[in-house]
């Protein structure tokens, strides 16, 4: 599969009055054309920061990319010289949808205007043509075209999210980044929106990066998954590999601690402790303080991603021992 987006050695910090928050600490990730990848992790793991970095949407004063490259079509999106190119790519080749459908739409414009704006800006269409296409786009995402004159507050959460998706797909992007798109939605509405995204991904043959803390969603939507912890990718592989045979202690702990509708579970096994604050990261492996398998080297040295076989990698010093003990 062809490489679409290559993130190499990315380090991102937030510099605030209270100190420096290391949000992303050395991420290497490649998304291929047509691939749907899940990026999972808890709150504070750095997933949103990673997504914002791709599109240059980090908060201007606080967010700093300290190291690394993000290559799209051999163009490093992080370099200042490529700023103009990034502007064009953003929305056209790489699009993003956000968690809160209420705040990501402008309340004073109709949804038709907001979608048409994208056509006008990126495809230079006339106003009439843009509105025509906007109506078509709305039908594709399941919103009747006669609602083109309605304002965002007149729609329910699920429908607003569809509008967001419509706006994102106007230019038929190569990659759609979805940051917790269904977290704020009811379960049956979530199912509708995810189904829509599946269909659209098929139809437009685009790559999808699905950011969520919900492993079940990733299992239902994606081929590959990257697990993030404290700003690092600690495990990566196909869904089967990572969820059936999780190698990293954190991934295992996470799967064991979540109630699942299909599982026969006795007592849940929570992971003790908490993710370290990005302002005070430990010296060695970030997960070591909570890890039941940690050894001395874990506290001193940061592990690197090891290959476990075809399409499965994990960053842990003790992979052998962890895997011998079986799940849980």
């Amino acid at each position: 599969m062809e490489d679409l987006l290559k993130i190499k050695d990315l380090f991102v910090e937030y510099r605030t009055m209270d100190g420096v928050s290391k949000a992303v600490n050395g991420v290497n990730l490649t998304i291929h054309r047509g691939e749907s990848m899940g990026l999972v992790g808890e709150t504070g793991a750095g997933k949103t920061t990673l997504a914002l970095s791709v599109l240059g949407l980090l908060p201007k004063r606080a967010g700093h990319v300290v190291n690394g490259t993000i290559e799209y079509n051999d163009l490093d999106l992080l370099r200042k010289e490529n700023w103009a190119a990034l502007q064009k790519i953003r929305g056209e080749k790489i699009a993003m949808i956000f968690q809160n459908p209420l705040t990501s739409l402008n309340p004073v414009f109709t949804i038709g205007e907001q979608i048409a704006m994208v056509y006008i800006q990126h495809q230079n269409l006339s106003k009439k043509a843009a509105f025509q296409k906007a109506g078509e786009m709305l039908e594709i995402v399941g919103i009747p075209a006669y609602r083109i004159q309605d304002y965002p507050h007149q729609f329910s959460g699920g429908m607003r999210q569809r509008v967001g998706i419509a706006a994102a797909l106007v230019c038929n992007p190569d990659l759609l980044i979805a940051d917790e798109p269904t977290t704020a939605l009811d379960v049956t509405i979530q199912a509708q929106v995810l189904e829509l995204m599946r269909n659209l991904q098929d139809r437009y043959k685009m790559s999808l990066m699905m950011i969520t803390h919900n492993l079940g969603i990733v299992a239902g939507m994606c081929e590959t998954v990257a697990v993030m912890y404290s700003g690092k990718i600690i495990e990566y592989g196909t869904i089967e590999n990572v969820f059936r045979n999780p190698a990293h202690p954190y991934t295992r702990g996470l799967i064991n601690s979540l109630p699942d509708i299909k599982a026969k579970q006795g007592r849940l096994k929570p992971i003790e402790g908490m993710m370290p604050s990005p302002m005070h990261l430990p010296l060695g492996c970030e997960f070591a303080p909570r890890c039941p398998w940690s050894t001395e080297i874990c506290l001193k040295q940061k592990p690197v991603m090891d290959n476990l076989g075809e399409k499965h990698q994990a960053a842990c010093h003790n992979l052998a021992t962890v895997n011998l003990k079986g799940l849980g």
């Binding site: 379960v187 049956t188 979530q190 509708q192 601690s257 109630p259 509708i261 579970q265 929570p270």
Partner: protein, 319 residues
């Protein structure tokens, strides 16, 4: 049944919305809870489950109906008796951030129920606080701290500890883990289950998350737009959901154990407005099995065969 702790009969709560009509938040629901069991109350936003919880603990006044607690209708109690009842029924709120007063220390937050109910003062109060903290394993060091110094999980533990200070029999858990991080959810769920075992508590567990409800509840009640659609024992429900809405709900819940190419039931449209609802079944505009009868006549909650399983649907074969 001597074991019945709570019996809700034909409970209704309507709100008048200016200029738009009457909002039927809870519309004629009846259910019961036995001593020591956990009943899960599930549904999506607008189904009325939180309203039911609020009605039970007295945060809202019912429009009509009965709530029988240990045989007495609590809606007919006078002020003094109602205040006494607070000792029996307590609630754990969803939001660990707004459910603790930011200006008070944890110690003060835990003392308040005891002071309001005039149960203990001074040394006796301190003793009671220590006792209840040891039940939930809440470190005594945290007593002098303020809520903003604690993380979400610890705050929720404080909320649970507070609910226990009055030695209640029934605790309404209103989405207690929904606002917490996934890794903390397990800790709180385990805590709630441990407390139930050690203290013989009864829970009404309100949640939209079916995976959590499956884990913790013995029976499950499904609500939709203010009405009960299905009541069943948990295992039976997940193996054999009868109501179309229940099936859609189960189909929609993501799971890492579900394959990718499974049959999915995707509902059309949105939840209709609970204001002045149309006659007939509440679910009829989204149901794929709808008949004319469903639009005209509201299906009653009927027992299915001889099981502890009831459902309100015209399309179910009750034979």
């Amino acid at each position: 049944m001597a074991n019945l702790l709570l019996e809700v009969k034909n409970l209704r709560k309507y709100f008048e919305v200016k200029g738009r009509g009457t909002l039927h938040a809870v519309d004629d629901i009846s259910f019961s809870i036995e001593k020591g069991e956990t009943v899960g109350l599930v549904g999506e936003s607008g189904c009325g489950k939180t309203t039911v919880g609020n009605l039970l603990v007295g945060l809202l006044q019912a429009t009509s109906g009965e709530i029988q607690y240990s045989g007495r209708n609590i809606l007919e109690l006078d002020k003094r008796e109602r205040k006494e009842l607070c000792r029996k029924m307590q609630i754990v709120f969803q939001d660990p951030y707004s459910s603790l007063n930011p200006q008070k220390t944890i110690h003060d937050i835990l003392s308040e129920p005891l002071l309001v109910q005039k149960i203990a003062k001074g040394a006796a109060l301190e003793k009671k606080i220590q006792e209840v903290c040891s039940q939930t394993n809440l470190s005594l060091e945290l007593l002098s701290k303020y809520p903003h110094e604690l993380d979400g999980g610890k705050r929720q533990m404080v909320g649970i500890t507070r609910a226990l200070t009055l030695d209640p029999e029934l605790i309404v858990c209103d989405e207690p883990v929904s606002a917490l991080d996934v890794s903390i959810q397990a800790q709180i769920i385990n805590l709630l289950m441990d407390l139930q075992r050690s203290m013989g508590l009864t829970y009404l567990f309100i949640s939209h998350d079916l995976s959590v409800v499956k884990h913790i509840s013995r029976r499950i009640i499904v609500m939709y737009l203010g009405r009960i659609m299905e009541v069943s024992e948990t295992d039976e429900f997940f193996e054999n959901p009868l109501h179309p809405y229940s099936k859609a709900l189960l189909s929609a819940v993501p799971s890492i154990l579900k394959g990718k190419n499974i049959e999915r039931i995707i509902l059309e449209g949105d939840v209709p407005s609970p204001i002045d609802p149309a006659p007939g079944c509440r679910f009829c505009n989204r149901c794929w099995m709808v008949l004319d009868k469903c639009r005209k006549e509201e299906p009653p909650l009927r027992r299915f065969r001889n099981l502890n399983h009831s459902v309100a649907c015209h399309r179910v074969d009750f034979a």
